[in-house]
């Protein structure tokens, strides 16, 4: 039987973890600044939806996913699908920061002929993209197909699909949920960016407030709720290697739409609104970045 870790080893581990988490927090802050600046520069909306999932994306791409930007089509790679495709403005920054393509490519963002706008393009057109989402309800079934493929081909990778709470209105999500649980697709993880808003109203006003985590649990998923802005919690839940056989996992991540900027938080105007120059000054101040 292994002896319990010596105090000094435990301290070192905790120190490494704390350093790592600090680093991830810094990356998230940088990502937020880039996303907001880009929204202003290119007049791209969906800022609220992008900011609520930054921490999830950073935890995934900078720590948890087994991916290699130099080998974006490695058959053994983990797959991350931005099922809430309107969060693409966040994904584009993070993929660039992670090295999937040169930063310089983002210079064309929002221009005629660009690949970069509001939704991810087809994977054939941009490395790092797993599915051309933008129409809700597609990413989870596609992810389920990818997860099942691992079992069929004797591979071992995780598939993470990031959904929005509004997206859980779509029937196809629940079709996928049923099948994934019935087939015990243990390497499939659904993360719901639960920011409590959809395009035109609070989620509970549109489709009621029956428990979201309760729904996933009832469908047979191993379900949990976390603070979607707690990097330690995200790293913990997303970092686990999953077996191809087992219960699929649903992580209901409680988030704040517009997280990171006080005047954007939980204000659904920022679903569509574009930040002004003045807004940018306030943003830089709040994020603690030099002008």
């Amino acid at each position: 039987m292994a002896s319990s870790p010596q105090p000094i080893e435990k301290q070192v581990r905790e120190l490494i973890t704390a350093t790592k988490l600090c680093e991830l927090g810094r990356i998230a802050r940088d990502a937020r600044l880039r996303i907001i600046t880009n929204s202003h520069k290119t007049q791209t909306p969906h800022l609220g939806s992008c900011l609520s999932c930054v921490d999830i994306l950073v935890a995934a791409y900078f720590h948890c996913l087994r991916i290699d930007p130099a080998n974006p089509r490695d058959p053994e790679r983990d797959r991350f699908i931005l099922s809430k495709g309107h969060g693409a403005a966040a994904l584009f920054q993070i993929l660039a920061m992670r090295g999937f393509y040169p930063e310089s490519m983002l210079a064309t963002y929002g221009q005629d002929g660009s690949l970069f706008a509001e939704h991810p393009p087809s994977p054939d057109y941009l490395p790092g993209i797993e599915a051309a989402t933008g129409s809700l309800g597609h990413g989870l079934p596609i992810g389920l197909g990818m997860a099942l493929s691992a079992r069929i081909q004797n591979r071992n990778y995780n598939v993470v699909a990031l959904l929005s709470d509004g997206e859980c209105n779509e029937g196809s999500i629940w079709e996928a949920a049923m099948m994934a649980a019935a087939r015990r697709v243990g390497n499939l993880v659904a993360v719901v960016d639960y920011n409590k808003w959809q395009a035109t109203d609070r989620s509970r006003e549109v489709m009621g407030d029956a428990s979201l985590v309760g729904k996933w649990h009832a469908f047979g998923w191993e379900s949990c709720e976390i603070d979607g802005h707690d990097m330690a919690a995200l790293v913990d839940v997303l970092g686990e290697r999953r077996s191809n056989e087992g219960q699929p996992v649903a992580v209901v991540a409680h988030t704040v739409k517009g997280k990171g900027v006080s005047f954007m938080e939980d204000d659904n105007n920022w679903h569509y609104k574009i930040p002004s120059e003045e807004d940018l000054v306030s943003v830089r101040r709040e994020l603690g970045v030099e002008s």
Binding site: A132, G145, Q153
Partner: protein
């Protein structure tokens, strides 16, 4: 035809490890042999077709060759969004098989008819559209479809479709098969109406009209070579399909004709009327109600040639 499909897909599955079969809770016992051989590559996805199509696309994106099978409306109109976005926009190799197409399920009412599937499938970029006439063409189509790297839609019959003998078993997607030679008119048939068309040929012969017959197993891409040939050679071309006259093969050929800048060519088309058929009956009854009979085709052609 569905038995032939089950047989051929079982053979394909044994030969090619990438083949995966997904069904929408249909085909009781039909795929027992496939399941015996390749249990882990068979998925009854339940009565949830939108998810099934998304899952198939995800598998195709991962290097597998999924084949999706259910009754035609459920693998077309039901999950059209997924076909369009997950399969066609991503341009991935999903083979979509609609069984009991056209009026095959005439006894089940319009919810189970499919007289618009060719129209909606051929209008999707990257889609190949196939309509084999019989089990021989079906097997050829399926094998050829597996060789393609993009989405394929194939509509098949149900059962009891007569096999029309062909002079050759050469097969190529996009290249029609000449089933009968003739000199006066050309009949272009797609899908399982071919035996009916061959009966019309006999009736026309009795009336002194010699008809060539082309089996267009491929609706998209259109065999423009054959079209250019027959529209030049024959004073009338008739297109026959178990599909609405709006937008199917007839529609596609009319579009092609319009692009020929007024050069030669006269066509008439036979297909279903722009209605839902509320009365049930056999497939032959339904075809009779909607003008898809040998007598009607022969009469229509005779009147058109004058």
């Amino acid at each position: 035809m569905r038995n032939a499909f089950a047989d051929e897909v079982t053979k394909l599955g044994a030969e090619d490890d990438r083949v995966v079969l997904l069904t929408g809770d249909i085909g009781n016992r039909l795929f027992d042999r496939f399941k015996e051989n390749k249990r882990e590559r068979f998925f009854n996805c339940g009565v949830a077709e939108a998810n099934m199509m998304g899952v198939a696309a995800g598998m195709a994106m991962s290097g597998l060759r999924p084949i999706v099978y259910t009754i035609t409306p459920f693998t077309t109109t039901r999950c059209y969004e997924q076909i369009r976005v997950d399969a066609c926009y991503h341009d991935v190799p999903v083979i979509i098989v609609g069984t009991g197409s056209g009026l095959s399920y005439a006894d089940l009412g319009p919810t189970h008819h499919s007289c618009e599937d060719l129209a909606i499938m051929r209008v999707l970029p990257n889609m190949t559209v196939l309509a084999p006439a019989d089990e021989v063409e079906l097997r050829q189509c399926l094998r050829a479809a597996i060789e393609l790297d993009g989405p394929v839609y194939m509509r098949i019959g149900k059962k009891g479709e007569k096999v029309t003998p062909k002079a050759t078993d050469e097969f190529q997607i996009g290249r029609s098969i000449t089933v009968a030679e003739g000199t006066d008119v050309c009949l272009i048939s797609t899908g399982t109406v071919l035996p009916m068309v061959m009966e019309a040929v006999t009736m026309l012969a009795d009336a002194g009209i010699s008809a060539r017959v082309e089996s267009f197993h491929t609706v998209k891409p259109l065999d423009e070579g054959t079209l250019a040939d027959v529209f030049t050679r024959f004073r009338l071309v008739a297109v026959i399909e178990e599909h609405s006259r709006l937008g199917g093969l007839g529609g596609s050929i009319a579009e092609w004709l319009a692009r020929q800048n007024g050069k030669a060519g006269r066509m008439i088309s036979f297909g279903t009327d722009d209605v839902f058929l509320h009365e049930i009956g056999t497939q032959n009854y339904a075809r009779g109600r909607l003008g898809l009979t040998a007598e009607n085709v022969a009469r229509g052609v005779r009147e058109a040639v004058g």
